[in-house]
Amino acid sequence: MHELSIARTVVDLAVRAATDDRAERITRVGLRVGMFAGVDAGALDSAFAVARLGTLAETALLEIDSVPLVCHCAGCDIDFEVDDRHGIARCPRCSTVSGDVRHGMELEVSFVEVVG
């Protein structure tokens, strides 16, 4: 339920990058959101539509790149993608459950597209 404050931070980071680049306007903002980032993409999109108003990102689109949950199996020494909505990370090779999360918790601005 804190998507609006996250959206404001996203806009803030994007505007800072655009200002540093002396750009006139932001056309798109890329965001990498892990499956386990605890953020709802739909809610974030709605929040972004509000947070961008009155900034260089006023007409910018938000592009969300979902990052799957990836865990590491120590026994097999492999990273594997977790295809389970509860996040139960069973190694596809040896079936051991792993608690070693390598990806899927990300919440990062990856790029800002600007014009001008």
Partner: protein, 241 residues
């Protein structure tokens, strides 16, 4: 793995770059500011020799009762407590009467504590001479999971009335737990609590977490929690993060 994800995104975009604007690679964590402040908190708490625990659960799992019992039973561990609540200072009062120095953060509707709030709250506490800093987070199993406060230990409480599938419903929170405390074991039987199912779910969702069963009301099982806590204190995991 991370660079793979990034490369895919950028490659797709760069195909269209001519018809669009120019691309600025940013690579900024949205919670980066919180993480910076959490790191500052961690360094500050380490300087004071404080072991910091972030205590999380749903509303009503028994965080306050659990902490109050620990404060009363472990006077050898002088403690300060930061309590986050949407409104009221009832929890803070209960903990104060258990012997701790308490500061309350009334979040006024914010669903989680952030590192900056903890930093400001800590300014109001006498940290010297304390061994523990306990942070009772806002009762919520969703949002607080994302915010590092600068703690060395994350304790997630779940009570027997909440259903054995709670770890499956809130895997994000349980995955971040170092210790899971199953509380209200004194009423496990009347509410048909299936301990095997709960432990099984915890073992699959958060295999790294230590699971301890207690009744904060009667005190049963608290010894096991103290033994685990003492082992962590002895390891000096104060500065870990």
């Amino acid at each position: 793995m991370m660079s793979e994800v990034r490369t895919i995104g950028v490659t797709l975009l760069s195909d269209r770059e001519t018809e669009r604007g120019r691309l600025l690679e940013v690579e900024k964590g949205v919670l980066a500011r919180n993480q910076e402040i959490a790191a500052e908190n961690r360094a500050r708490f380490a300087r004071h020799g404080l072991f910091v625990a972030n205590v999380l659960s749903s509303p009503g799992s028994g965080k306050t009762t659990f902490l109050a019992r620990m404060l009363r039973e472990r006077p050898d561990l002088p403690a300060a407590v930061i309590v986050g609540d949407l409104a009221t200072d009832n929890d803070a009062e209960a903990l104060r009467s258990a012997g701790a120095e308490v500061v309350q953060i009334m979040t006024g509707g914010v669903c989680h504590l952030e590192a900056a709030m903890v930093s400001t709250a800590a300014d109001q506490l006498v940290l010297d001479g304390k061994r523990l800093l306990l942070i009772e987070n806002v009762g919520n199993l969703v949002c607080p999971a994302s915010y590092d406060l600068g703690e060395a230990l994350r304790i997630v409480l779940v009570s027997v009335t909440e259903g054995e599938d709670k770890p499956l419903k809130y895997p994000r929170m349980f995955k971040t737990a170092d210790v899971v405390v199953i509380n209200k074991m004194d009423i496990a039987e009347p509410v048909d609590f299936d301990g095997d199912a709960m432990r099984g779910n915890l073992a699959t969702v958060c295999p790294r977490a230590t699971v301890i069963e207690v009744s904060a009301r009667t005190g049963a099982g608290m010894e096991a929690f103290y033994a685990d806590l003492d082992a962590r204190l002895a390891k000096g995991s104060v500065a870990l993060g």
